[in-house]
Structure formats: structure tokens, C-alpha cells
């Protein structure tokens, strides 16, 4: 499991399903982290993000027009 050794944190990409309208930009910017269900809504990876993932995830978070994506820090 990837760990950010500087902070001792795990970072995960998460989606707020209430805010998400399935616009789909995240799938273009972070294809390795996001796939889509039968109705066009994103299913985001549950794995902890490494540095390369983090760059893509940050781009997806910034581009989401519904502000439905975020990166969550957790200490385990």
C-alpha cells in the first residue's frame, strides 16, 4: 500500500454521490482511477494514491463541475 511517508497519511480519491451528476470529466483525466457504472456514474478506486495517482486525482478534482470529487486523508 502506497504511503505518503512525509505525513504518514494515506490519500484516497472519493466521490460525493449526492453531488455527482455523472458528467464524466474525471474519467478522462484519471482513467486509471475511475471507471463508470452502467448508468454513467464514476466508481473510483479504493486504493491509496501514490504520487503519480495523486497528480491525476488532483486534476480530476479540480475539473469536476459539480465539485463532487475530493481527496481524503486517513491515518491508516
Amino acid at each position: 500500500m502506497a504511503r505518503d511517508s512525509r505525513h504518514g497519511l494515506n490519500r484516497r480519491l472519493r466521490v460525493n454521490p449526492v453531488a455527482c451528476d455523472g458528467v464524466g470529466i474525471c474519467g478522462h483525466l484519471a482513467a486509471e482511477l475511475v471507471r463508470f457504472d452502467s448508468w454513467g456514474y464514476p466508481i473510483v478506486t479504493e486504493r491509496a494514491l501514490d504520487q503519480r495517482d495523486l497528480n491525476r486525482a488532483t486534476a480530476a478534482v479540480a475539473a469536476c463541475p459539480k465539485r463532487a470529487l475530493f481527496i481524503q486523508d486517513s491515518r491508516y
Binding site: 460525493n16 454521490p17 449526492v18 455527482c20 455523472g22 452502467s38 448508468w39
Partner: protein
Amino acid sequence: MSASLRLVRQPGHGAGKVASDFSPLLGDAVRYAVDGTAAITRVTADDLAGHVRRFGDRPRATGGAGTELVDTLEEIGLSGRGGSHFPAATKWRAHLAAGGGGVVVANGAESEPASAKDTALMQLRPHLILDGLACAAEAVGAVDAVLWLHGGAHAARSSMVRALGERRAARLPDPAIRLAVGPDHYLSGESSAIVNALSGRPALPGFTTRPAAVSGVHGMPTLLHNVETLARTALAARTGAAHHQGTSLLTVADETGRTVVEVAPSTPLGEVIEAVSANRLAGGEQAVLIGGFGGSWLTWDAAALLPADENYLRAQGISLGAGVLLPVPDDACGIAVVARIADFLAASSARQCGPCLFGLRALADGTAELARGQSSRRDSRRLSLFLAQTVGRGACNHPDGSVRMIESALATFAADVESHRRRGSCLHPGSARSFPIPEPV
């Protein structure tokens, strides 16, 4: 009522404090007609004097007594009886660790259509619930104590309002308790929906990253418990851990109505159902839905000998949930019942999260095709895909419960599913007798 059913009975009146080694909430069974308006059993609420005779005065829970009460709740392993069975003491400690104060909520919005235990408690033991709410408010130093009800729960509301009035008139040393009434929707008893409503937002589930005990109503720590959990808290405050022995409060729902029974946790589920269900007269049961509409199906043979013990069941991957037992008789098509419940759950979606809005409808359509015998191999592969794509995808657990109900049904009614698919015929033709699934609000 079968004589073999070990119903927990009340110790005699006038005993003052509960000193017996079991802690009954209701004692005798309570029956409700299908429409829920008329109780078949004559229901008489404990008035304040009767309540004090039966249980004794409410112990205070301020200061050290509050700390002691949290320890007691931990020792007896009291879990949330709204359905989640989350340890109560863990919530209280999280609330206190977040600074205490804030809000306490007694959740009496009994959304499960097949459940009646909360209604029975509110009608018969309103003061025990209010005792629990008052103790919780004192223990965490809450600035607001709320009783949350469905707008349509008229009998429960009038009973609770009468009880609140009695307490005020008697000048009991209670924190101020106010009543808040929400919509009758299936999800308005969901904890984040209650937090939203009490914060001035629509009573719909919300997406949260922090528990309500840390950040709830208006961002304040919020301790939210089902009314049964609070009634049990009030009992535990009186008995302490040493004299405590828990019971299980269950609702058996069949086509004739709902019966609330209180049993010792060792009582087999089959015994509970056979004692109160009318289905027995018509050739026995085929399967049981345990927990509620978002619960798990088991065949009768698998369910009958299981004890009404949440801890035991949890180890088997089953939960009593809100305490609902919904038996389906041998002469009813289980898949037809599943399809009707799946339709109710889809229609009850708050329509906020895409995977719930579209996923539950796809699942309901898939089970309806199966019930009609119009489901091909390809359709069943699609149903499996939709189940996998729906679970865990909502802000609340509504989609998860729906998936659990359908997945367990496909396993429980496997032979019937196969027959519906291959021959378009049913192994249990006959009337579709079972608990009537209401129109979603």
C-alpha cells in the same frame, strides 16, 4: 399464543426498581392490524404514576452518574436498535470526546413498514423513552433534546405528547425536550436525514465524512438513538450492568398484521414466528426475511433454529436489523414478494445519488421480470452486474440494504429462480399471500 414461546413477562407491579434478572420493556405481545391504524390488542400507555410504580424514578445522569452510565452501556453491550446495532457507548464517548454539549435525538420515525416495535414502545412506554432521552442529554450535557417522529404517526405522537405534558406538570427534573415532526418518507428516519432536517435542510440523507456524534445538527456533536435504544438506556440506568439481561424486541409481520413480541435472546426465531403467525394454519413457512425490507432472506429450515440474538447472528453474517421477521408461507411465490419489496425500495430512493436512483430501479425491473418468468440467462447476468454496481454507492445505506435483500433472495429461492427462468413456471403457485407491501410515500 403458543405456550412454548418464552415471552418475557413483566415482574409484578409495585416492585419499585427492576430487580429481576431480566429487563423487560414491553412484556406482553402487542398486535396491530395491517393498516396500522387499529391496534388489535388494547393498548394502554403507562401514565407517569404507573411508569414510576413499574420502573421506579429516573436516575439522574449528570456528572459522575453520566460517566457511570456510559460504562454500564459498554458493559451490557447495548447496540443501536434502529437497525445498525452500532455500540451505543462508542457513540456517547465520541460525542463527549468531541466536546460534549450539542444535541440528543430520540428517533421514533419507524420507517420499516413491517416493523411496529417502536410504535408499540411509544404507545405503551412513552416515559421510559423520555427517561432515556433525559439521561442521554444529562450525560453529554446537551443543549437541545429532540424527539423525532413521522408526521403520520398519530398514535405514537399523541402518546408522547401526553407523556411530555405529564412530566412538565409533575415538574420532573428533566432537560427541556421538544418534539420535531418529519415527512413520512422511508428515509426520513435515516440518521443523516434527521440531522439535515434539524439543521434546517430538507429531511433527506446527506453525504458525510464525519459521524453525527462529532459533527451533526448545525455542526454540533449530535447523539442520535432509536427510541428502543433509549428505553433500554433508561432500564440500564436503573439496573446497572450486574442485573442486566437483554431481551430482543421483534415484529412478526404477516398478511393478518404485525405482532410485536419481546423474547429472551436464546429463543429460536422459528418458535417466535410459529407462536404468532397465521401462516402456520396454511401449511407452514417457506422462508423468512430477517431485519426489514433491506434485510436478509433465509429458508425456513435455515432460520427456524437460529436464536433471536444479534451477537450470534452477526457472527453468521445476519442481523436482526430493526427486529423484523417477515415469513413467507409455502403457498406464496417468494420471488413475487421480493419483486414487490424491490419496487418499494426503488420508489423510496431519495433520488439524490445516481447509482441508487437508476440502480434500484434496474434491480426492481430485473426481479419483476424474474417473477413473471420472463428472465433469460442474459437478464440474470445483467441483474448480477447491477447488484455489484449498486452496493456501496449511495450517501446512505439504502442501496446496500436493497442489494442485500435481493442477493439473499436469489440464494434462498434458488430452486424457484431456476424454475422461473427455465420454464417460466413457479414452484409455489397459489395466492401471493404475505405481508402487504405499502405504496411508497
